[in-house]
Symmetry: C2
Subunit: 160 residues, 2 copies
DNA sequence: TAGCAATAGGTAGCTATCTATCGAATGTCC
DNA sequence: GGACATTCGATAGATAGCTACCTATTGCTA
């Protein structure tokens, strides 16, 4: 039973581990600014989406389920970084907006993320990165179905 | 601000997402047998470690911290799949042992994991897998320090 | 050998993810 | 136009990861 692992087995085991290490590192660097990955990732996607994104659109962009985003937004709203507005057109939906207070925070996020990337990728070639991305998208295509693939490539259709 | 993402940015964003999809898929397939990833992963590592592994050694193999393993072992012990024994040599440590009831469960895990791998990797070449593994280990080396690198390559030193 | 540092496992509490479900609002189809 | 299905955001509860701290035991060292 105590066989050495083959490469496919090792891939499965290491994927989750590296993802946890990555998240922990970013959390560590941004903790001093009161940010965790789920919060800064949400802010970042919000800044890159069209104006007046709904919670549903934002959740899809970030890659989490609705209830997960609800709690993240609760915290960001309590911290005064975003606000939710009920839209007259469809009173079920709420649009999410960055507040002015979020601008310096976003700048800090961009700076820190760039520094982490420069450090992490210093000895990883561009070809290696694109290979990983191709593998990620193949896996997401199989596991997540069409929606996730579109989400991964940031081609979110407007009519969903 | 609404710039397209470069490949390094996309890598960071997709890593966590694919890891969550992967975990959700395996949990879905093994849920019918009362297993979740943390539990079957722990059983699998236990079956591949030397006899009488301590909790510390097992935690390092699985890649989680001590308190995380404590809860997982609590559940596995309650389900009758493993048992903890206090060793006379060092009464601080407890060795973890598979019980006979775990054998069919492990067979089910191995079968299911092999099926998932065959499906996921059907259109991913061996070269792509090894490139990803090389990237994972470079990142783990930078983020996790020496111990994690050793853990990733399964060269756990005996004298720690 | 007495005291103190280090180690193993456990507990408490935080964050974040998920599924299942709910209420309100909207849309659709006879 | 009324009944039913769908969609959106929120809530509840489960699981799993972490750090910080605690107790018991071991071992080193002055």
């Amino acid at each position: 039973m105590k066989l050495p692992l083959n490469d496919q087995e090792r891939f499965g085991l290491h994927l989750g581990l590296v993802a946890r290490l990555w998240r922990a590192e970013i959390d560590r660097r941004l903790a001093a600014f009161g940010l965790t990955e789920s919060r800064w990732l949400t802010l970042l996607h919000l800044s890159r989406l069209a104006e007046a994104a709904t919670q549903r659109e934002l959740a899809e962009a970030v890659g989490v389920r609705g209830p997960t985003l609800v709690r993240t937004l609760d915290r960001l709203e309590a911290e005064g970084l975003i606000e939710r507005r009920t839209e007259a057109a469809d009173r079920r939906t709420k649009s999410v907006h960055l507040r002015a207070e979020a601008i310096p925070v976003l700048e800090r996020i961009e700076t820190t993320a760039a520094a982490v990337r420069a450090e992490i990728f210093s000895d990883i070639s561009h070809a290696e990165v694109t290979t990983c991305l191709r593998v990620f998208e193949k896996i997401a295509g199989k596991l997540g179905g069409a929606e996730t693939t579109m989400q991964l490539t940031h081609q979110i259709p407007m009519d969903r």
